[in-house]
Symmetry: C2
Subunit: 315 residues, 2 copies
């Protein structure tokens, strides 16, 4: 049975029926009221067994569900207005679980000034499913489509920690070979991404294009390039790695590919004019190029690296 | 194991952590930008096996998922701006299914001028789960909290059809006793609610309080009264019933309670000043009263009717 890929669902099924504010569904968020301070709206659904483990701490599940949405706002240059929560609870939920979930959500709502402004709670015969819609305002909406040849490419922080954290959780043998500190760092970055809302003002003022990295740096850069009608050249040794990621890759070199393609980073991928100084601690990893070729990733020897798959795919 | 009820989850778990725009989570939608033409945002999640049958026609599933959200906008006096779609697809989806789903969604998006403006598609190991967030603008936001003693209570159309349609689908013996036309009417009203967006301007201009009836007239009126700090008196013989509903109730009198408490009506429950003429075809069913007693439902003999449960509950 031949089926659409995840990208094809968006491009072939939903983009043709989407409205103008959807920007062709090429972006992470919808743009409303393009005059004045644009209102930015985004939605992401997370499912137990797909995006998190059902027995993860409920406060962490709540925070991750919210943060992946705030990360989209940040990438668009927006500060949060608030969010709506759609919660489908499986049969075995308890008061304690729900209290802890709500407490985690409230902590983050305060920390990121993103109040809960509505929602819907119901039952599901399936796994816990959390659908959050976040709204924000941006002085300027940073599109995915604005990258131009010659732009510098920045990433807002270390890449691959979360994908390696997931690998560590799935592979006890790998976990056993890592120092506890490195293991905890990687798992922590998988459990609890940090939305880069601190960079939103810089992005609104300086970025020609941006998106948050949720499905892997390699694949998400390819998406940004397709949306902008450009290509790119990335210097892989310039991609920032945490000390923990370097330790894991030293033990198992194949994990470098996992780090570049695995996803769940929630750092921001940025294209900005060649003269833009990157916002600390973002680092330059390459340059946007003319043409429609897929991005090229050069290794330490200057040779193109080939990844088996560029990004996480649900289907 | 003692657990929160569905209402307690909202009142005790989420309302305390919600922002001001959430209106204490006492409403169906969030109110943003109370100055000028308010932006109204609402979200509802529907799950196969809970809110619809997994083998229902995909176009009908899509339309119902959208319409239950548009119904919330209508009840707030808002006209649609657009909507976001969060789609969690089970393992057995096919291109044909998804094409038909999107076609149904597009038809309704055009018919109700509610463009798709964003979304998120992923996989679930569980049942099909559709989370829609709808945005609208209202000249005036119609709250759930504004009912005052002496207000007339209106409903926008026949009550109970959808709950009876569900009963007919679940009970082949009942279905066999109903004329085909009545059966088809009731099932049709379950499958495809009609959001009363035509009433939104009237509501914004005239209603003191309103909500759409999704969980049963009796329970939803009790919610509206609690939110407004009032009581109510309903004349049950005045509640409009379709010819098909009357046929079903004639065959099985217990179905009258199903009609009053079963939900999925997506008609609008309205409180308006005593001098307001109801918008056609809405009919007057009772009056808001002072006090905090639960609403009283009087039968044809003027005696209070007691319902076993007032409304549909997920938990």
């Amino acid at each position: 049975m031949s089926r659409y890929s995840e990208d094809e669902i968006i491009a072939r099924v939903f983009a043709p029926i989407a409205g103008a504010a959807a920007l062709g569904l090429k972006d992470d968020a919808a743009l409303l009221a393009p005059e004045g301070a644009p209102l930015v709206v985004t939605t992401d659904t997370v499912v137990a067994g797909v995006h998190f483990f059902a027995d993860d701490a409920p406060a962490l599940i709540a925070k991750k569900a919210l943060r992946v949405n705030l990360s989209d706002l940040a990438a668009k240059g927006a500060e949060p207005i608030g969010f709506l929560l759609g919660l489908a609870l499986p049969g075995d939920w308890t008061n304690d679980w729900l209290d802890a979930f709500a407490a985690g959500l409230a902590e983050d709502a305060r920390a990121y000034r993103a109040p809960l402004i509505g929602g819907d709670t119901g039952a599901t015969p399936g796994p816990l499913t959390i659908s959050i819609t976040a709204l924000g305002r941006a002085p300027r909406f940073v599109p995915r489509t604005g990258a131009r040849p010659g732009d510098a490419i920045f990433v807002s922080g270390p890449i691959g920690d979360a994908a390696l954290g997931l690998a560590v959780r799935r592979d006890p043998a790998l976990a056993a070979r890592l120092p506890a500190e490195a293991r905890d760092h990687l798992i922590g970055r998988y459990l609890l991404p940090k939305p880069r809302l601190d960079l939103a003002p810089w992005l609104a003022a300086n970025a020609s294009a941006a998106m948050d990295i949720s499905d892997g740096l390699a694949g998400d850069l390819a998406k940004l390039c397709r949306a902008s009608g450009v290509s790119a050249m990335v210097d892989l040794p310039a991609v920032p790695l945490s000390a923990a990621a370097r330790e894991a890759i030293a033990i198992e070199p194949a994990l470098f590919e996992t780090a570049m393609t695995g996803g769940d980073d929630y750092e921001i991928l940025i294209a900005a004019g060649p003269d833009a100084a990157p916002p600390a601690p973002a680092g330059r990893i390459g340059e946007i190029a003319a043409g429609k070729a897929p991005p090229i990733f050069l290794d330490a020897q200057g040779k193109p690296a080939f990844f088996k798959k560029l990004s996480f795919q649900h289907f």
